[in-house]
Symmetry: C2
Subunit: 119 residues, 2 copies
């Protein structure tokens, strides 16, 4: 099963999911599956969100809080949950505010190890 | 009821909470209640996390995702949930990884309007 199939599976299994991506912490995507951005440029938004991982990592390391595992950002029109797959790559799901946030977190947790083994 | 009492109330009501803060999005705190940082410099970590709000806001506005409402950052040793109270101020709870994340989110949602009315 390739990256794309895993990303599609996550979108299919989570109510309200509009996109799922595997991306470098440097903002360079490996693969992204977008079902419906609803007028939002989700791909480029996720690229910009990648800098949050870098900032959070520097802050957490500086204050001995350990490595960053997960981030979430909720805006009026889009909820994004992201999980580190390896120190260099993260996986993220973007969903509508009415979408299933808990399911998205769960799917990232179970899918991340599968992607890790293929990276 | 002053800011400090609200922050103390949140810490008391949430299993695993180690700190609760009311802070400007510019990183200047209004008030912070720390119960037990467990060796982590929670106050300064929260100051550094404030920049995540600024970055997320710029990214979300640029891509028409609307205003940022909530952020969460999970590291190996600390989970932080933050919610915008007004466009200029946010409230955040830091808790241990075993703490009650859902309760922290709930308490921010019900406490934010109380703080807003006093700001």
């Amino acid at each position: 099963m390739g990256f794309r199939e895993h990303l599609q599976d996550v979108c299919r299994s989570c109510d309200g999911a509009v996109a799922c991506t595997l991306m470098g912490v440097d903002g360079i995507e490996v693969d992204t599956h977008v079902t419906d951005g609803g007028g939002i440029d989700v791909k480029n938004l996720l690229v910009e969100y990648s800098s949050l991982f870098r900032t959070a990592r520097e802050a957490a390391e500086a204050h001995e809080a350990g490595g960053v595992a997960e981030l979430s950002i909720s805006t009026e029109r889009l909820v994004t949950v992201a999980r580190l797959v390896t120190p260099e790559y993260f996986m993220a799901v973007a969903l509508t505010p009415e979408g299933n946030f808990g399911k998205a977190r769960y799917l990232l947790r179970v899918t991340a190890p599968k992607l890790r083994s293929e990276l």
